[in-house]
Amino acid sequence: MKICVLVKEVPDAAVEKRIDPSTGRMDRSGEKNLNPYDTHAIEAAMQLREGGAVEVDEIVAVTMGPESAIRALHKAVSLGADRSLHLSDVSLAGSDVAATGYALSKALEKEQPDLVLLGQQSDDGECYTIGAVVADHLKMPSLTQVIKMDVEGGALRCERQAEYGYDTVSVELPAVISVGDAINEPRYPSLKAIMGAKKKPLDNVAAGDVGIDPSLVGADGSRVQCGEFKDPPAKAAGQIIEDEDTAETVEKIIAWLDERKLI
């Protein structure tokens, strides 16, 4: 079995996120982290490999993004991927979620995976959606927000929380599955794995190498235009108490509740 894991570089949670006023796009200069949800997807691939129910021949980390996105691939390899694929092309810049999913699906077509895994959401934007876009292009069954996944013959038995409780769904392979953070506890990479990550094979491909139709990607090929931003209605800031003396803190909370007749 060959597993492709889609990964993404996102802004470090500690870096303030902002819109670049000159371009109207998110300022991504402070980015340096692998999307935390993606580490759960890599861990899920590793657990399939180690679980023994199916033979996993190869785990390939795949990303789309500028030069700096290589750091996300190195991190993914340090966490267990065997090699990585970097789709990078100036024509892809400014792609919306549908265009990004299309471009990734073209890169994946070349890899012919039996399973595509990804994190259910990215820290910086597209929620829950990229997996469904990729699946439709690849003509594969798909499920998002999966928190338990077991191999059963040629299918995966998946569990997730949906609108009315927990659903159990059997998904035939090949498939696209996005995982939630409750699926596993990702392992920490060893120092040796971190050091060795840069030596693992990394393929660079451009849009033309994987047959991407240039009219369907980039800012011009995207069907959503979102260069316009505004501020949300101002909300009065709440009161903050730093707890130094707990007895005093509790007194303040009680007074606050009492004032509002909540006790």
């Binding site: 919306d96 927990y166 998904v171 931003f229």
Partner: protein, 327 residues
């Protein structure tokens, strides 16, 4: 003329509230852009003529009904793509919820359309719809315009209000559909399993909600003690993370795939305040948050925030509430 197509989810013969919100919103917007609001339903025998016709009272004029599996996105993508191909709706609109995300995104791929998710407001500009979506932890609003014939709008949960505006039954049209091979390769084995005790939190005036910051399942005792001290109409609620971890029952879960509540007091203990949680409790009258991380997003929308160790604060607060009640 631009019509709007919505998807209506149902379970055990009842229509989903967020879907009814999408139909109501779709009908309002369709009137503004000179079109009609239509709905797609996919399921079995419980989708009776009568049930489908009731969508007329929320403003839908036509309901496209297909027989198919329930609770899975890809069969619905097939149906909606076919309806749009034959009837040419210019927009597809979804209420909040997990299936809406999957269907909307897959439909965008199928029809080469633009898609915006987590939308909190939609407005008409001439004959076009414009969607507003909060980004960067709700600190900015991004405005989406669409081009290319079909725009897909996926609302955030509770974004669209239910409004009974129509007075006539919707026309029900059966859709003959041959599903894509991949749409039949996912099969529902069990739907809507309730994990944990059946607790009632929706009617409570005071909710003490616990998150991962409680540390372990036993940590919920602190929340239960505090709720008991408030007494009366109080209960304990939980986040998705701790419910998935098995610390607390699903029936007590707040947020995206759980309950939506608006109590007089919402006291969040060890909850970071992710958007998925916020959408289920932001209408609470008073929000108090206790978290050791001063940067937790929940402090952005709480009325009173306490930065500190809940293991120290909750027991003392419980005693103080008891003392106050006794006085």
């Amino acid at each position: 003329m631009a019509d709007i197509l919505t998807y209506v989810l149902h379970y055990e013969g009842a229509l989903n509230k967020n879907s009814l919100g999408a139909v109501s919103e779709g009908a309002k917007l369709a009137a503004e852009i000179g079109g009609e609001c239509h709905a797609v339903v996919v399921g079995g025998d419980d989708l009776t003529d009568e049930l489908c016709q009731t969508l007329g009272s929320y403003g839908a004029t036509k309901v496209f009904r297909a027989t198919g599996p329930e609770g899975l996105a890809q069969p619905v993508i097939d149906v909606m793509a076919k309806v749009i191909e034959e009837h040419g709706q210019a927009y597809a609109l979804f209420g909040g919820g997990l299936l809406g995300f999957e269907i909307g995104a897959g439909l965008a791929a199928r029809r080469n359309a633009g898609v915006t998710m987590e939308v909190t407001a939609v407005r008409a500009e001439g004959a076009e719809l414009v969607a507003e979506r909060p980004i960067l932890g709700d600190s900015k609003i991004s405005v989406s315009h669409y081009r290319g014939g079909l725009g897909i709008i996926i609302g955030r949960i509770n974004a669209f209000e239910i409004a009974k505006t129509g007075d006539s039954a919707a026309e029900v049209i059966d859709v003959e559909i041959e599903y894509s091979p991949w749409s039949t390769q996912a099969t529902m084995i069990q739907r809507g399993e309730q994990r944990g005790a059946d607790v009632d939190i929706e009617g409570a005036d005071i909710l003490v909600a616990g998150g991962r910051g409680l540390g372990k399942a036993e940590g919920f005792q602190l929340a239960e003690n505090l709720a008991a001290a408030f007494g009366g109409n109080s209960a304990v609620a939980a986040t998705r993370a701790v419910v998935d971890a098995g610390w607390y029952p699903y029936a007590a879960q707040i947020g995206q795939t759980g309950k939506t509540v608006a109590p007089k007091l919402y006291l969040a203990a060890g909850i970071s305040g992710a958007i998925q949680h916020k959408v289920g409790m932001q209408s609470s009258e008073n929000i108090v948050a206790i978290n050791k991380d001063a940067n937790a997003p929940i402090f952005e929308f709480s009325d009173l925030g306490i930065v500190g160790d809940l293991n120290k604060i909750l027991p003392k607060l419980t005693e103080a509430v008891k003392a106050k009640k006794g006085s």
